[in-house]
C-alpha cells in the first residue's frame, strides 16, 4: 500500500511542484484517494532564517490564539498568514492550513548544542500533544509540508504546489487504513530539518515509540513516519551518528552477516545493535527521508517493499515505481533497484 516519491537536485536547482504532482499521480493504484502529501525544501527563500511552521487549525477563529500565545512564549513571530489554497470539488476541507515564520528564542534552551531546534522540538511536542485543535505538520527552515485527504492531483491543486519551487521534494500517495478524514494523518511527517515518507507498516511501532518517547519526544498521531522522523532526529542530532550509521541502527544487518565481517566492523555493528536494539525497525518498509542537505532511501532488511532509484544529470530520484520516475523524467539515464539493506544516500553539493 502507498506510493512514495522523492527527488533531489544536487546543485540546488529549483523544480516547481507540477512534475512531482504528475509523478505521484502515476501511482494512484497504490493509493485510495484518502490522503496525499508533498514536502519541499527551498520554497521560502525570503524567510530562510525563520522556522516555517505549517499548522492545521480545526477552527482558525478559536485555535489560533492558543498557538499565537505559545509561539510568543518560545520566540517571536515574524509573519503569519493562511496558506494560499484553492477549493477543489473532490476535497472535503475540514481544517484551515496556516503558516508562521518563527524565530525561536535560543536562550530558552541553555546549554544545548542546537538550542533553536530544541525550542522548536519542544514547541511542536507541546502543541501536538494537547487537544487544542491545532497540529503543527512541519517546522523547518525554508521547508513546507502540504497534505490533505484526497487524491494527489486534488491535494496538489488545492495547495497550488506548482507555485512552489524547491530543490528536494518528497511526496506520498496514501492507501488509508485508519482515520481517512484526518488531514494530519497522511505522510509526509516533518520535524524541523527532517521529513519522512514511508511505504509500509512496521511491526515495531510500540517498541520504537517507547524508545523515542523516553527521550522526550511525543508521538501524537500513532503513525510510523512520525516515529521515524523523531528517531532520525534523535540519532543524528542528539547522538551524533552520521546518517550511514543512523540508517544502520534503524535497519541493521543480520547477526550472521555481522559474524562474517572483519573484526573492527563486527564490533561497530554489534555496538550499534546493542545500543539501538529498541530503535530497530522491523516489518515491511521503504523510507525516503530528507533534510536540507540530503535525501536518503532505505528498506527493511528483507526488502519487503519496493524501492527504485533513478539518476539523470544532477537529479536523484527514489520511488516506489519506475513509472513515477519516468513520468517526471522521461529521459532518465539510469534505473537501479538496490538490494535489501543497501541504503541510498544522495547529498546536495556544499
Amino acid at each position: 500500500m502507498c506510493g512514495i516519491f522523492g527527488v533531489m537536485d544536487k546543485r540546488r536547482q529549483m523544480m516547481d511542484g507540477s512534475g512531482i504532482r504528475e509523478a505521484l499521480s502515476m501511482m494512484n493504484e497504490r493509493g485510495s484517494g484518502e490522503g496525499a502529501g508533498y514536502v519541499a525544501y527551498g520554497i521560502y527563500p525570503d524567510y530562510r532564517d525563520c522556522y516555517a511552521l505549517h499548522v492545521f487549525f480545526d477552527n482558525a477563529c478559536e485555535n489560533k490564539a492558543i498557538v499565537d500565545a505559545t509561539l510568543e512564549q518560545w520566540g517571536s513571530i515574524e509573519c503569519d498568514e493562511a496558506i494560499p489554497t484553492c477549493d477543489q470539488l473532490n476535497l472535503k476541507v475540514n481544517c484551515t492550513p496556516w503558516r508562521y515564520f518563527f524565530k525561536p528564542d535560543a536562550s530558552l534552551a541553555p546549554g544545548s548544542a542546537s538550542p533553536e531546534k530544541d525550542v522548536v522540538t519542544n514547541l511542536v511536542m507541546q502543541i501536538n500533544a494537547c487537544a487544542n485543535g491545532a497540529e503543527i505538520v512541519s517546522s523547518g527552515k525554508n521547508v513546507g509540508l502540504f497534505k490533505a485527504s484526497g487524491w494527489p492531483e486534488d491535494v496538489a491543486d488545492y495547495y497550488r504546489i506548482q507555485d512552489y519551487e524547491g530543490y528536494i521534494w518528497l511526496a506520498h500517495n496514501r492507501y488509508a487504513t485508519s482515520n481517512p478524514e484526518l488531514w494530519e494523518r497522511p505522510d509526509p511527517f516533518n520535524l524541523h530539518d527532517w521529513s519522512v515518507v514511508e511505504n509500509g507498516k512496521t511491526t515495531t511501532y510500540g517498541a520504537n515509540r517507547r524508545y523515542v518517547e523516553s527521550f522526550g519526544y511525543n508521538c501524537s498521531t500513532g503513525t510510523d513516519s512520525e516515529v521515524i522522523a523523531y528517531l532520525i532526529d534523535l540519532l543524528t542530532r542528539k547522538h551524533g551518528l552520521d546518517i550511514n550509521l543512523a540508517i544502520r541502527a534503524l535497519a541493521p544487518p543480520y547477526w550472521d552477516e555481522i559474524d562474517r565481517m572483519p573484526e573492527a566492523e563486527q564490533n561497530l555493528n554489534r555496538a550499534l545493535r546493542f545500543a539501538y536494539g529498541s530503535a530497530t525497525m522491523n516489518g515491511p518498509f521503504t523510507v525516503v527521508a530528507a533534510n536540507p542537505d540530503m535525501m536518503v532511501g532505505f528498506t527493511d532488511r528483507g526488502k519487503l517493499r519496493p524501492m527504485v532509484v533513478g539518476e539523470c544529470g544532477d537529479r536523484l530520484y527514489i520511488a516506489s515505481e519506475e513509472t513515477a520516475i519516468r513520468a517526471m523524467e522521461p529521459k532518465v539515464e539510469s534505473i537501479t533497484r538496490p538490494a535489501a539493506g543497501e541504503p541510498v544516500i544522495g547529498r546536495v553539493a556544499p
Binding site: 512496521t202 511491526t203 517498541a207 554489534r270 545493535r273 530497530t280
Partner: protein, 505 residues
C-alpha cells in the same frame, strides 16, 4: 506428638486391580515413600504415604495401579476449605511453620493466560521462518546508551566505546538456579549438557559447583547467595557469569533451607559445610544492609574476576519492585533476574509461598517502564522467572519488557518430575530432587539431557513461528513491544499497569 485428631482423611488412595496385577513387585521397588510392601505373596498398600509422584503407575507393566485424589473429602465449604482445615489441624498439633515444596498453589488468575498475542494479516505480511531468518540470538549484559567515535586521519570513523562483556544466548530461554543439594548431580549434569547443546546457560543455584560440572563451566552462571555456600575464587572464575541472589520469588524476605538429610558427602564438599547438617542461608546478605552496600559487593566480585564476567542479581518481585530494580540497576550489575511470586522452591514456608510477592507479568512490566523512565534500560538486561510454563509465556514476558527468561520447574518436568511437591523430603522417586544414590541412579543424564534440550528446542521453534507470524524477525524488536499484546478480561487498572490495550482496541 499427642492430639485428639486421629488420622486425617486420605489425600490419595492407591488401589491395585488384583486381576491385572502379576505380583512382579516393581511398585514395591520403585516407591521410595513406602506405599507398597510385601506380605508373603501379596502386595499390601499404605496409601497414607503416597505423594502422587506416579512412579508406581509409570512402571507397572499391567496398568494395574490406580490413584485417586481426595477419595473422601470433608463437608464442602467455600471458606473453610480442606487446605485451611488441615493447616489448622497440623499447626494445632505441632505449633510449627508449615513447609511446602515447589511453586504457589494459590488459586489466583494467571495474567499470562489473559494476554493474547498478535499476528499479521493484510496490512503487513507475516515472515515465514522456514524461508527467512528470524533471529532469537540474545545478548545479556550492559549495553551502551550512546556510542562514541573517533575520526581517523584517513576520514574513517572508529568506534571508541568499549563494550562490556555480555553473554550470548542462541535462544532467550535459560535454565534457572536450582542448587546441587536440592537437586541431584545427575539432574545438574543433564541440564548442563542441555544448556551446552542448545547454546544457552544454566544457573548453579547456591550450592557451589561440583567437579562433575567443570566440563560445562562455560555454560554455568555461578550463584552467590546469603549463605555463601561453595563460594571461593576458583568457583567464581569457573562461571561464565556470576549471580548475586538477593531474593527468591517463592519466599521473599527470608533465607534458604536445605534439610540435613540432603547434605550427603559430595554435597557437603561442594557446599563447604559439614555432612548431614542443615544448610540455612540467612534472610539478608550480612554485608548488604542498605542499597549502597550492594555496589561494593558487585565491585569486589568484579575485581576478583578481573571484570571479565557479567554480574547478575536476582530479586523477588514485591510491592516496590520498580524501585528495587532501579536501585539494583545503579549498582553496576549487568542483568537483573526478577522472580515472580509463583516461582518454584525445594522448600519454603507455605504462608510465604502462597501469600507474599507479586506476579512476574506485573513485575517485568513495571521494571521495564521504570528503567526506561530513568534512562537506565540499557544499563541492565532483565530476566523474567517464576512460573514460565510454555513458549507463549516466554514471548509474552519478552513483549512486556524482559530480555530472556529462566525456567526451573519446566526443566524438571522435562526430566520426569510430576510436580508432586515433596522435594523437601529428599526421596524424589525420579532421581531429581534427592541425594540417595539408588534414587539418583534412576536419572540417566544422557536421556534426561536430551529431554531438556528437546524442550528448549521445541519452545525455540514455537517462539520463532510466533515471531514470524507477528512479522518480527529479531528478538530485540519484540522486547517491550507491548502493542503486540492485548489483554482479555483484565481490569482497567491492571491494563494500565501493564501498559497493554484491551482486546478490540
Amino acid at each position: 506428638m499427642n492430639s485428639n485428631f486421629g488420622s486425617m482423611p486420605l489425600r490419595y488412595r492407591i488401589s491395585i486391580d488384583r486381576e491385572q496385577c502379576m505380583e512382579c513387585g516393581r511398585c514395591v521397588e520403585n516407591c521410595p515413600y513406602g506405599v507398597f510392601r510385601w506380605d508373603g505373596e501379596r502386595i499390601l498398600i499404605n496409601s497414607r504415604n503416597c505423594t502422587a509422584c506416579h512412579r508406581c503407575l509409570t512402571y507397572c507393566p499391567r496398568d494395574a495401579i490406580m490413584l485417586q485424589e481426595h477419595p473422601c473429602d470433608y463437608r464442602s465449604h467455600p471458606v473453610w476449605t480442606r487446605g485451611v482445615r488441615e493447616s489448622i489441624y497440623n499447626q494445632a498439633r505441632t505449633g510449627k511453620i508449615i513447609l511446602a515444596g515447589m511453586g504457589s498453589v494459590a488459586n489466583l488468575p494467571i495474567i499470562f493466560d489473559h494476554l493474547m498475542l498478535d499476528a499479521c494479516q493484510v496490512t503487513t505480511p507475516p515472515t515465514d521462518p522456514l524461508r527467512e531468518p528470524v533471529e532469537l540470538r540474545t545478548y545479556l549484559g550492559k549495553k551502551p546508551s550512546k556510542l562514541e567515535f573517533t575520526q581517523k586521519p584517513n576520514g574513517d570513523v572508529e568506534l571508541s566505546t568499549e563494550l562490556t562483556p555480555n553473554l550470548m544466548l542462541e535462544t532467550p530461554i535459560m535454565l534457572g538456579h536450582m542448587s546441587y543439594g536440592a537437586l541431584s548431580l545427575n539432574a545438574h549434569v543433564a541440564m548442563a549438557r542441555a544448556a551446552k547443546e542448545t547454546g544457552t546457560f544454566m544457573g548453579t543455584g547456591e550450592g557451589g559447583l561440583h567437579p562433575g560440572l567443570y566440563p560445562y563451566q562455560d555454560r554455568m552462571i555461578v550463584q552467590i547467595a546469603s549463605g555463601r555456600f561453595g563460594v571461593n575464587v576458583d568457583y567464581l572464575e569457573r562461571g561464565a557469569a556470576i549471580e548475586l541472589k538477593l531474593g527468591q520469588g517463592a519466599k521473599p524476605g527470608i533465607g534458604g533451607h536445605l534439610p540435613g538429610e540432603k547434605v550427603s558427602a559430595d554435597v557437603s564438599k561442594t557446599r563447604m559445610i559439614p555432612q548431614g547438617s542443615d544448610a540455612i542461608s540467612p534472610a539478608p546478605h550480612h554485608d548488604i544492609y542498605g542499597i549502597e552496600d550492594l555496589p561494593q559487593l558487585v565491585n569486589s566480585v568484579k575485581e576478583a574476576t578481573e571484570r571479565k564476567k557479567p554480574i547478575f542479581a536476582k530479586i523477588a518481585a514485591v510491592n516496590n519492585n520498580a524501585e528495587n530494580v532501579a536501585a539494583v540497576a545503579r549498582s553496576g550489575v549487568d542483568a537483573i533476574a526478577i522472580d515472580g511470586f509463583r516461582g518454584g522452591t525445594g522448600a519454603a514456608p507455605r504462608v510465604f509461598r502462597d501469600h507474599v510477592g507479586i506476579p512476574i507479568e506485573v513485575a517485568i512490566a513495571t521494571a521495564d517502564r521504570e528503567l526506561r523512565n530513568q534512562g537506565l534500560r540499557n544499563e541492565v538486561s532483565l530476566i523474567a522467572c517464576g512460573s514460565i510454563r510454555e513458549s507463549a509465556d516466554v514471548i509474552k514476558a519478552i513483549a512486556l519488557g524482559a530480555d530472556a527468561v529462566y525456567i526451573g520447574t519446566a526443566a524438571l518436568v522435562a526430566m520426569g518430575c510430576r510436580v508432586c511437591g515433596n522435594c523437601y523430603q529428599g526421596l524424589c522417586s525420579w532421581g531429581i530432587a534427592t541425594q540417595r544414590p539408588d534414587l539418583v541412579a534412576r536419572l540417566d543424564p544422557d536421556v534426561a539431557s536430551n529431554q531438556v534440550a528437546n524442550l528448549i528446542r521445541a519452545w525455540t521453534l514455537e517462539i520463532t513461528e510466533l515471531m514470524g507470524a507477528a512479522g518480527i524477525n529479531s528478538i530485540e524488536s519484540l522486547r517491550g513491544n507491548r502493542d503486540r499484546l492485548r489483554g482479555y478480561m483484565l481490569d482497567e487498572g491492571l491494563l494500565e499497569i501493564l501498559d497493554v490495550k484491551s482486546v478490540g482496541a
